[in-house]
């Protein structure tokens, strides 16, 4: 037994029955293994639900995004926290594709510009950090791509409202019951991951935006991409 194992023997598979707490439900390690399998099953089921509810909507949203790029449009992605990293992944999906030979399409993550984010937060309000850049640079026919697990982030909703006001196509990814993003008139193409786990919501959202990326490229006439397994 290593030094660490002798310090924390219960972490290294010793039966709970021998522990001071006297549990009999198997080791912590076994509980964690089971929990891992359960979470994997949850995300598999959530993806099936996304197919059942949104297969048609995914196709029409991809056609709309493709039409925007074909018409010279640009895509703007935004979100907070973990969703800010997804916004960057969305932009990279189009602007810096990892598939060999894939065309680069103009997409920008509003979350990547720390100078603009902090300037607006400091001088005006955090609620305008997405709306203001869209007001400055968004053009009719562009795409505003919003991610929020709750569907209720004030700055994301303000960004979407500004985008609609300026004639952009709006795409919204939410979770739970969709929150304010699901209210009529908030967003043109809405995808709600019907889960109460922020983690499973984000995982399903990742699938949605990557499938949208793949379908958009197909709508633009590109090869289907690396659909070689699975």
């Amino acid at each position: 037994m290593s030094g660490i194992e002798s310090l924390y023997p219960f972490l290294y598979g010793e039966a709970e029955a021998t522990s001071p707490a006297g549990d009999t439900g198997g080791s912590v390690f076994d509980d964690v293994r089971r929990s891992t399998r359960e979470k994997v099953a949850e995300i598999a089921a959530l993806r099936e639900q996304v197919i059942a509810e949104y297969a048609e909507a995914l196709a029409s949203c991809a056609i709309a995004i493709a039409a925007s790029f074909a018409g010279g449009g640009r895509l703007w992605a935004f979100g907070n926290g973990g969703s800010s990293t997804d916004a960057q992944a969305v932009a990279a999906l189009f602007a810096a594709p990892e598939t060999e030979g894939a065309v680069c399409l103009p997409a920008v993550a509003l979350t990547a510009d720390v100078a603009a984010l902090t300037a607006l937060s400091n001088d005006v309000s955090f609620d305008v950090v997405f709306a203001r850049p869209l007001a400055a640079a968004g053009r009719p026919g562009d795409v505003a791509f919003a991610l929020s697990t709750s569907g209720g982030s004030a700055n994301v909703l303000r960004g979407l409202a500004e985008a609609r006001h300026r004639g952009l196509v709006t795409v919204g990814l939410a979770g739970y019951d969709g929150g304010a993003m699901a209210e009529p008139g908030a967003v043109d193409h809405l995808f709600v991951m019907r889960s109460s786990s922020v983690h499973r919501i984000q995982e399903a959202q990742t699938t949605v935006y990557q499938v949208l990326g793949e379908l958009t490229r197909r709508a633009l006439g590109a090869p289907a991409g690396p659909a070689t397994d699975g």
Binding site: E98, E203, D229
Partner: protein, 209 residues
């Protein structure tokens, strides 16, 4: 570009999502490896270690996401843990790339920032990122706990890192599918590392410390 040339249907969309099915089911078979990584990460946090994350391209976003999971937990009541992504500072990244080369952008930061109790997590969808492999090698040499999230057939420079502690492989050649399952893996790493961490705290409290 002509969007009229290709028609897309609901079936195309459903098929695209369904390609995730088999690799997702296969991930459940890695429960033991994932649990072992969570356990060892908890031990490092207990010793005061920090989490350091890195990756290229789309995995840059994952490195940042993984770090913020630990710093700002989405589940109320979970304690914040120290984590830093090595991808967040363009001044540092481009500065190192210019002077020392792109292959050194993460290893150089580890040499400056890392302590031996820290945890290094490298993310590489194809397992071939030289800068991720070099950083993990540097980390292992310094005594950090090293974790690699890769995809593909489980080969490549990252997989071959000498002294790598934990290798988690998503068996798919589609980088999009690899990324999605990496998100699930690191969400689980966060949540279940806390389970182990809380166990150590409960036991120490129980022992009257």
């Amino acid at each position: 570009m002509n969007t009229g040339a290709v028609t897309l249907t609901a079936r195309d969309a459903a098929d695209a999502v369904r390609r995730r099915g088999e690799p997702t089911r296969a991930l459940a078979g890695q429960d033991e490896r994932i649990a072992a990584a969570c356990r060892d990460m908890a031990v490092r946090f207990r010793r005061g270690g920090r989490l350091l994350t890195f990756g290229n391209g789309a995995a840059t976003a994952d490195a940042a996401h993984l770090a913020v999971e630990f710093v700002h937990p989405v589940i109320v009541g979970k304690r914040a843990l120290p984590a830093l992504s090595l991808v967040g500072d363009p001044a540092t990244l481009t500065g190192i790339a210019r002077r020392r080369g792109f292959d050194d952008i993460f290893a150089a930061q580890l040499r400056t920032q890392a302590d031996r109790d820290d945890i290094a997590v490298g993310i590489s969808a194809d397992g071939a990122c030289t800068n991720v492999a070099r950083a993990l090698t540097e980390a292992a040499g310094r005594g950090l706990l090293t974790v690699a999230l890769v995809g593909g057939d489980g080969t490549g420079a990252v997989v071959a890192t000498p002294g790598l502690d934990h290798l988690l492989v998503v068996r798919s050649t589609d980088p999009a599918i690899v990324k999605e399952l990496h998100v699930t893996i690191y969400h689980v790493l966060w949540e279940l590392a806390h389970v182990f961490l809380e166990q150590t705290e409960d036991r120490r409290a129980g022992a009257g410390r």
